[in-house]
Each structure stands twice: as C-alpha cells, then as structure tokens.
Subunit: 137 residues, 2 copies
Amino acid sequence: MAFVLHPRLMADTAGIADWSLSRVLLMNDKRFPWIVLVPRRPELGELFDLDELARGVLLGEVVRVGEHLKAWAKGRGGCDRINVAMIGNMVPQLHVHVVARVKGDPAWPGTVWGMGQAVSYGAAELSRVVAELRDVL
Amino acid sequence: MAFVLHPRLMADTAGIADWSLSRVLLMNDKRFPWIVLVPRRPELGELFDLDELARGVLLGEVVRVGEHLKAWAKGRGGCDRINVAMIGNMVPQLHVHVVARVKGDPAWPGTVWGMGQAVSYGAAELSRVVAELRDVL
C-alpha cells in the first residue's frame, strides 16, 4: 500500500515539503504557528507502529521543526514554548503536532486542540508563510 | 545543580520508578490511565534542550510506556489510542504525558489537558495502581 494523506489533514493544512520520513504541513490556522509532520508510510497509527530506526528519524524531524519554528516565531509574535503532541483521537493516521505558543495567544495557557475555530490564512498569506517556512525549517 | 521535581508535578502525581533517564509518575486522576515521564536532569524545558543521545533514550522510554500502558489499559476499561504530548505551558520543566484513551472516556475525542477536574484515586487504590504499573511498564 502507498502512503495517502488522511483527508482531514489534507483539508486542514498546506504542504511545505517532504522530508526523509515525514510530509511537513502547515495547519491553516493563523492563530498559531502550527506544523504537522506525517510519516509517509501506510497503515501507521501509534508511535510504536513505526520501527525503531524510523522513530529516531521522526524524533530528529520533530526537533528540527521545533528549533526552527521557535526561532521563526520569535521574530513574529514571539514564542515562549513549543508544544509537541501525537494525539490521533480524530485522525487515526500517525501525525505529530508542533505548535509555537506565546503567552497571551488565543489558547494560552491551555492547549490548541479543539480550542475554538481555526482562522484560515488568506490565499496570498498562506503561500507566503509556506514559502517562508520552507526556507527556515 | 541537581534534578528537583517541579512542585506542581510533585503535588499531582505518585512516583512509580526511576528509569535510566526519566522519573516515571502516575497522574493522580483516575479518569485516565496517565503516565508522566520527567527526565532527571536539571534546567530542561524543551525537548531540544536534551542532547541527542538523551533524546533517543527518552523516546525509548516513551515507547516503552506507550506499549505497556496500552496493553494494561486494554485489560481494564479498554484503550483505543495512546496520546503523547510535551506541552509545558504551565509546568516549564520538561515532561512527557502518555495517556491511554478509550472511546467514551470523559474527554473523548478531545484532549485531557485542562479538561474538567481531576478525580483522585483513593489512597489504597493509588498504591495498588502504582504497584501494578511498576510491574507492567
């Protein structure tokens, strides 16, 4: 079986890049700088469905996003914390959220999942942010 | 500086074990089988504050908890998904949540963080669950 991105992730995100393991996506919600990594392997649900080697690659990709997203977000509205999560209660396909959080953002100090309604980027802004993140991540 | 567990984690959890990197804690909230791993190193906030070797150890410890907690929870109320998260908006000390979730639990399909009030175990039940988890994790 080939990897196919879950339709919910397809609908809610924009593609930034394919890295060695993961597809790198921007959540289309301008309230938060919010990246989603999806390992491009079929039939994965839990972290421990990945073999040990691939788990190490995924960890490296999470760290890469976290460090660079934090630096980038600091230059915009600020960044006090990176939130990392694998949840999958709604979208069973294994995916990792990496979200830059700042004191006073619309969910602070709570979490972003299920918090209010997403605020989409405009089309031009979405393209610009995707291009910027493709460079900095 | 020595490792000191953050007072909020100290108040909200019971100790299960010290593994090679992390202190393994049970969240004192019987609504969810909920483990917290805290790397026993001072001055850590973000995942990427850990050196690469220790990050790999932490990942192994997360996988170990996830697999065994899922099997254990299946024998109790069931387990449809393991949620894993590093948040740290309220407790800055680096810690990882590993939570067994089942369809129909009090937060499903939402996340557990900030969801309602914790329901403490009774003292005897807490000791029993800690002892069980010390064996199975």
